[in-house]
Symmetry: C2
Subunit: 235 residues, 2 copies
Amino acid sequence: MVYAEILAGGTGSRMGNTEVPKQFMKLGSKPIIIHTIEQFVVHDKIDQIIVVVPKAWINNTKDLIKKYIYQAEYIAVIEGGPTRNESLVNGIEWIEQNNGINDEDIIVTHDAVRPFLSYRIIADNITAAQQYGAADTVIPAVDTIVMSKNNSEIFEIPIRGHMYQGQTPQSFNIKLFKQTYLKLTETEKEILTDAAKIMVIKDKVVKLVFGESYNIKVTTSYDLILANSILENLL
Amino acid sequence: MVYAEILAGGTGSRMGNTEVPKQFMKLGSKPIIIHTIEQFVVHDKIDQIIVVVPKAWINNTKDLIKKYIYQAEYIAVIEGGPTRNESLVNGIEWIEQNNGINDEDIIVTHDAVRPFLSYRIIADNITAAQQYGAADTVIPAVDTIVMSKNNSEIFEIPIRGHMYQGQTPQSFNIKLFKQTYLKLTETEKEILTDAAKIMVIKDKVVKLVFGESYNIKVTTSYDLILANSILENLL
């Protein structure tokens, strides 16, 4: 089985709008999260979609899916946890309770606020997770990356050709991810806010999958302007 | 003296248009490079502007400046070198020949294709270069930064709070930069394509100046769409 888990647990404080989380704001004619879900709905390799949202938004999300998406029956809407990784694990627990987990099962986890991922990116994630156990979507760093440890002076400027900007999806063999996550201490869980980093720290292979520059994360009002521009001009 | 050096030496092969270098493409009603030069023209702390372009574009650039910019007399247009750093050094040589270099003189170097820098960013660059000898404009990394040494698997995911995306301006005490640059071996000159990295490698302090997310570099057709959107919606 190949599962898609769309992570929409955040409440979007960065948008400067605390009433409507950013994933529910409109982009063109539809909420951002609907654009994102649609990319997985039209993908022939995805068997089940799990959407993780804040508790207060579960019913609203179900209504939106009914309103905008044909064939809504294989989309589950469940409650998120207090952190991104706990939300991710909630999705895995839903799978365990409803279907059980088989050795080959894959989960493709994706930010609800990255509505522009492509069919090709999803396909590459599935293939890489099946072959290597874990995959992370990246693009080569556009800018020079600078490191500072004191937020004041440059500590290092690493070789640009080695640096990438992380996007999502992040995809995992579910059993491997669960086993690795369960071995983390509570302190590690607090520090390791990035799911791919959990695998890297525990010496698992994480294969790079190449994203697209337009696969942006919509988290600020500025991003929303860019997203509308991408929708109108590039897609 | 405070000099601005606008680096437009590139021929823009990334834009998919080999005839007109990207800095000469139109953004709104004017070429990108004119937007950029204007930001320095209106700045009261800049004493002299030096624009570095490919040899074939010197006359055209002079014509554009006459056409679009009032008070063009303190803008010099000179020929670029084969690399970014050599173009930068050409500007310093122009200063040396025309005005000489004093201990306190500062050079604010900026990409011609970043038309949206602000008055505040230029002012902060000048102050930081005067106080610390070198400054680099950055924004905190928006995405998780991922490191791979083989373009295939993740090697490391550094702490996100330590990572920044480099922009320009990069600003220097001219004497300090020249002394440091002259000490580089030919091999170092080939490797150190970033001017701030020259200072870091040679253990000089490079102060961080905070840029803006909209201070983007326009190098692809996608960037040009975003740039037009920024121009229409944000400025």
